[in-house]
Symmetry: D2
Subunit: 342 residues, 4 copies
């Protein structure tokens, strides 16, 4: 019997993507959809690509509207999830696609978000060591940030194998959907097309502590992260170029072996054959992750690169993957490793 | 029991798209894949988005390699399909995604293609009046051209209802995948990005007689077509802007009624509510068609606009849809009306 | 001695482009720059590409701030130019890049803009028959709309030579800068990239009566215009595909001769050699116009296609060209026919 | 009196760009243009944006064709410049936009290019300490690579001031024109649009030793470089994100001061005000460089980011700038710091 799922924040990009995936999920029936300023409008006018839901009308985001579902996906601005989640029963699976419950360290939260810490929920990146166990049967899930998903999957095998010094340097390019549907001048098509530009440079991006948390946990020691996000002229995709100095004595074979081992049995992570490199186009609309790694002997660094679709594996696909685990369904139900290309 | 399908020309865009769709088709098992200059290579190096088929090796395109399948999709340069099809048995369903068997009039073929006419197969645009009956149980199917698909679906209801004069004016924009993977300077990313340009202007495009054939059949009288294709800076999608002078006495209500009636029961064609207009992004990767129509009283013209994904509904999706009909499967098996957006 | 020019609305795309051109104009000194909501900000934060003006601060748009200049460019929302212009002296050259003074027919204005007609100024499309004489020494200039510029230059030679029936069908694609810097959801990069979509279909676009005015004047009889604008995934450029049924007896040679004659001496209009077609990339950032024409004998239509940069020849370049004429400078001063490509 | 300049390789992107700039250079008259496979064709068919040169016909690239000019620009595949240059007199200024004469270390050349070293010419990056003196009156100039231009200008002030450890980590995104007009599948528009992908990962890119040479010379000690280039979905532009661990005791003020000092008098390098970041769109078609720098205290790194137009400052603009110095002209003659945006 299908579980019944509601989506709060159905008019945004994360909400739209989770609906796109749930429409193809054989075990889910789509229930209430809510919005804020768009309440009362049809989904057809807001998400015209979701043809089967075109006539659905958005309700306001209230606990009452979201009640009576087995699963509730929250795609809300940060800081709003706790109040909604509190009013949903403990038997409801609540999956937060926002940031509120990702960080373990309250002071990190307060430093980067400037508000009181709401708590920590099981972390929905199943590929991380130990993560699946925490998700099985969970009733609350914090979906990782899109950048931390790409970065953690690129780098954790090197740290898990003890091959990298704890100072990671990361430059990542994201498609504009990563910034959401916000009406800001720098997100206009005229500004974006033909332009690459960085933002949040110098340690200020809110995803930085989440990366440090993930990598530090795997490494067993604190890992500093220098993270520079850049905005690329494309709608979807993250390409994360990550590197760290190799620990003394590391060889190219060690590096390859660590990644081969880490991803031997992962259904969504594809360690590419040597000589081929990730491309965001290859994972467009898919939950797959392309990973490649190299050892630069001259520079003494491990270079690990991943490509994901920021809205799929980076947000809504990761959410559905974790939902499947929590509900005891096959992990890949309703999820594809096939990109839409070219 | 699944039917077994082979794809000839699996390294190109049409071949890749039919594989993307067949991977999600519950009634099809993917058999032999062939290529020409790429024979011997893995699909992973040629179509890196098709992760589940990454290790498949392309065989040379020969009748022997294609034998032993229930369905054979041909994605070959025009002029090559007949020789392959002849050597496949009459019990094999052969679906030609090229142009060879689309035209009924041999002299049209010879004028536009400069070679002898190979014949005419049942035409795989199920939404055209009478088309489904010809596809049921068929063993040979000619998949329509991408432009004729978009244009015929935009305009035929006006002609079927006798509302339009038989002189259609069409300007269509296509994504670059419509030109295939050919290594031509004008298809380089550097040339394409930021540029709109026409080609084949003045009646020379090979899809022109196919549009005339479809519209003329529906209208019951010859329809001239002025067709200008343009290349747009996007990978996928066709936006077809079509118009014709309205017949005397036509009203806006007549026009609306004709389209409402034509598409009331079509699973893939979505006549948009008044006030909304098609966008290629809304049908990205989907088999859906968005159609809208307006009556411009001042100019005295019916304006009909459609958006399709040129590789999905315009090629491979149309092919699978017709295959489903030929095999007696539900018409939408393995096909989606959900786009990947934004 | 240089004339001193002010720009009202310097933070928008039209204002930025006129500044880009004036910076390279040897006869102009840039004076006051004004803005509305951006008054008080530096131009460097609003138009970071205009490096030499980075430290200029925008003043509020008032007649006082604009006083004391020889030339004032108005890049204001429609309906606002008249009030500003009235308070500038009759000896000041006022160039309106908005719509307010383009139309001769007050009822057309009221129908399409819904407000009282402000008047009619000399029309800044020098290539139109008779237009230059009206611009020489003028103190008020109405810069044409971007679409009417592209469309009029594509079609007027056919009408001037009496070769085309008075029913023009036009489909044009524009870059997103044509919609200005407005914060609207459909102009976000995420929505625009990868998508073609129409708008203002069925006769409603405000540039329609301006096209009818231009073509009708040249033809000597009313010309109806069916105009469909489409939004293309690029920042700049208009490709206008225009056609009309050829008058009886028209030949391909007649058509070619008409265009050759019309553009023999025009510095900015380049009638391409036969066999080559316009591309917006070729005129990126330039004041050039690429035009090509074909006679489709089967459809009985003249097809004329033009490419311009909507911000340059379509707005600010056209404005500077007309300013040059009004001031008695060589018409191409400060203007280039060289595009930035690829 | 104008100098007379020839361009060898006029059909490619670098050749086209140098022609675009020379057309606006008041001290240069454009002489012979040559090509290889395109010899005999008009420039109008190959570089349609260069309208004033449309009727010029390409000659074959021979010393004879190039003789009799004051300046010869070489835009040839690497390995071909020496043979041409040898046959041009010592009194001719030869400017090589290829790689052949950039590296001082013959073994570096041989390692990365696999052919004998041709020699070393004065290096055309005037902003580097000491570079201008070597260019004054020079008769041979090696134009830097596009990536080394962007990277050296981003990082050298930190090394000149002794603030950075000699291990630089660089991730740069380039527009597709950086790969030239080569007909390779991965450069097709269909592949490029919507995709970010790395290449030459792990130390193999040929620009790496050039960066090491530049930074090491400034630092006074060897600097290792971990360089990852990525291909971005845009035609032009390089965004170089560069970082290095800060030397002990470095403060944010030290870093700011070093960059302020380095670029106080540079006409083309614009150190942005704090809080603003480079964007490739801002330097589109211009010879300007946008630079910004930050000190990430938590990660202990200096982050320096630059944006250039790879074809202008990164190739042809840098060439013209160096030519101006060599000829004793004002350094910015014919060069602009104004981008074409949006």
């Amino acid at each position: 019997m299908a579980v019944r799922a509601a989506v709060a924040g159905a008019s945004g990009y994360a909400g739209g993507e989770v609906l796109r995936l749930l429409l193809g999920h054989p075990g889910v029936e789509i229930g209430t959809l809510t919005g804020h300023s768009n309440a009362g409008q049809t989904l057809g006018s807001l998400q015209p690509h979701l043809l089967p839901l075109a006539d659905r009308v958005l309700e306001p985001t209230t606990a009452e509207a979201l009640a009576g579902h087995d699963v509730v996906f929250l795609a809300l601005p940060h800081g709003q999830s706790a109040a909604v989640a509190e009013r949903l029963g403990d038997d409801v699976l609540v999956i937060d696609m926002g940031a509120d419950f990702r960080l373990k360290d309250a002071s990190d939260w307060e430093t980067f978000y400037g508000s009181p810490h709401a708590g920590t929920w099981p972390y929905g990146l199943p590929e991380l060591p130990g993560a699946r166990a925490a998700l099985e049967g969970a009733k609350r899930i914090a979906v990782p940030g899109c950048y931390p998903t790409a970065v953690s999957l690129a780098l954790f095998p090197a740290y898990a194998a003890g091959l990298a010094e704890p100072e990671a340097v990361i430059v990542a390019a994201t498609g504009t959907s990563g910034a959401g549907k916000a009406l800001k001048p720098h997100l206009l098509g005229s500004e974006v097309m033909g332009s690459m530009s960085p933002y949040g440079v110098g340690g200020g991006h809110r995803h930085t502590p989440e990366m440090m948390q993930n990598l530090g946990t795997v490494a067993g020691e604190p890992v500093t992260v220098s993270f520079t996000p850049t905005l690329a002229p494309m709608a979807r995709g993250i390409l994360a170029t990550c590197s760290a100095r190799a620990k003394r004595g590391t060889t190219a074979e060690d590096v390859r072996a660590a990644y081969t081992k880490a991803y031997a049995d992962e259904p969504f992570v594809h360690l590419l054959p040597e000589g081929r490199w990730p491309a965001t186009a290859s994972v467009y609309g898919s939950n797959a992750v392309q990973v490649q790694v190299a050892y630069d002997a001259a520079a003494g660094r491990v270079i690990a690169i991943s490509a994901i679709d920021n809205l799929t594996k980076g947000t809504a696909g990761g959410a559905v993957q974790s939902m499947n685990i929590a509900l005891g369904l096959p992990e890949d139900t309703g999820l594809s490793t096939i990109g839409v290309a070219p």
